[in-house]
Subunit: 316 residues, 2 copies
Amino acid sequence: MSTEDQELPVFTTAADMRAWVRKQKKSGRKVALVPTMGYLHEGHLSLVKAAKEKADVVVASIYVNPTQFAAHEDFDVYPRNPAEDRDKLAAAGCHAVFEPDSLYVSVPGADGESSNVVGRESGHPGSHETFVTVERLQRPLCGGSRPHFFRGVCTVVTKLFHICEPDVAVFGRKDYQQWRVICRMVRDLDFPVEVVGMPICREPDGLAMSSRNARLSPESRERALCISRGLAWAEKAVAEGAVSEPADVAAQLRGRIEEAGGTVDYVELLHAHHLSPISDLTSQPVLLAVAAHFPARDRGTTHAANGHGSKNSQSV
Amino acid sequence: MSTEDQELPVFTTAADMRAWVRKQKKSGRKVALVPTMGYLHEGHLSLVKAAKEKADVVVASIYVNPTQFAAHEDFDVYPRNPAEDRDKLAAAGCHAVFEPDSLYVSVPGADGESSNVVGRESGHPGSHETFVTVERLQRPLCGGSRPHFFRGVCTVVTKLFHICEPDVAVFGRKDYQQWRVICRMVRDLDFPVEVVGMPICREPDGLAMSSRNARLSPESRERALCISRGLAWAEKAVAEGAVSEPADVAAQLRGRIEEAGGTVDYVELLHAHHLSPISDLTSQPVLLAVAAHFPARDRGTTHAANGHGSKNSQSV
């Protein structure tokens, strides 16, 4: 259903969204897509800005994708604010919003049950069952603790690409591995889409912007600064030759985060393109990737109740 | 590289193929794709004919897809005859042919080795590594003996769809499970493609047409008729009420094929859409699917040397 009488058209079905994009393309306009899960911050809006420079019209999608959450993860408490998101997108000069209720066919079983999270196989043989997997790049870093995460990301991005048919798609490099995985998927499956990766946007004090930051307690918000500070330290220490072994960089950075009260998911130095292990810091492009958890303000009532909370991951 | 000076344009790169299709679409023409592995017979040409009725221009692809063959299977001896194929397609009124050398990025490792068959993970972290999987529908029937087959089919069809950007794609229902898997993939991933499944084409004596029939010995060619005859028997027996249990139909048909010297891969009665088990023959659409091997004329020198040979599978 389209609501084109509004200033910013908002489409909730694939058919309406595709029809709008095709009309744009027929008029010779180049189309860019900015896929998001909503709860937008300056980082997202910087992607819209970049998209406007790459194309004539910009579509932003807002969809919290169930297939990239595991059952114990924070799908239910993922922050949502669609009305404010639409205002922000309109102000940023976005041209259309795709905001579907659901993107997955879910056929209720005989008992009428239907799972919201379709990442794992469920019930009825008529339900969604097709997935796109980037087999190697999905494994390290976030793939370690979230084995189905990138399968969910690739699957929903494939669907969004097929619905919105963009010429260009813009992703943030805060989610560095996601950006690399999408680039590989686009290359391997011959998607006719140019993928653009934009730099991390940071708060004035250095924290990488993230929708999940909203779930950090005030104290955690302060403590999480150890990540950006640690990355700055590592960059300087390597440049000055104070540390030269990848393992030493990782161990020292991990120590700093744990000292600040963070629970480290990973601190790793990898080949920046292939995300494969490296033995030195000089002979190839190097990624230093960090993900850590800090207590959430709502830890008592969320799925993230196992001592972890919101996560802030950053890469240089 | 295009060879548009020929009557039938033949494209060997994704970029040239896509450019040609986009030009057609810009002129308002509807595009159909007929994906094939070449060595064309009347069955393929019936798909071209159907495609012409559904669209303004028809592209046929000829590509023996390595990712759908396992290492022990017949990739190396799969029959090929591209020159004759092109003549047949021109005569059938096809408008363009996509005939790529390779569709997969394969980066040689440090030892210079690069595998032709990229279905399994190989060497270099820069090589192809993205696959599309229809998780449930791929499992029964052919999936039992060929666990990676449909993953390879879905991956190459995704690539062909992205390169040729068809409005319509036409498949043969001889490969019934493949047709159902593709339909599900298209639905689940929101491909903007209409999938059309055409009936089996049969030789005058009833054998389903198949490129692999060329590998049957004359004796096997005769014996393989037990399949089409068995299917006709089953249809009649069920219609007349002579057999009413799915398991009885399967057991009797299996017996007929084994008696004729065939090695049965499967004889199964399943739900025709979901390929799930059924308990009776009346309450839902039923598929009777058969695959059997018969000795090949070249059995001594092929990968199919384990007592099996060319396969002829048929469904009603």
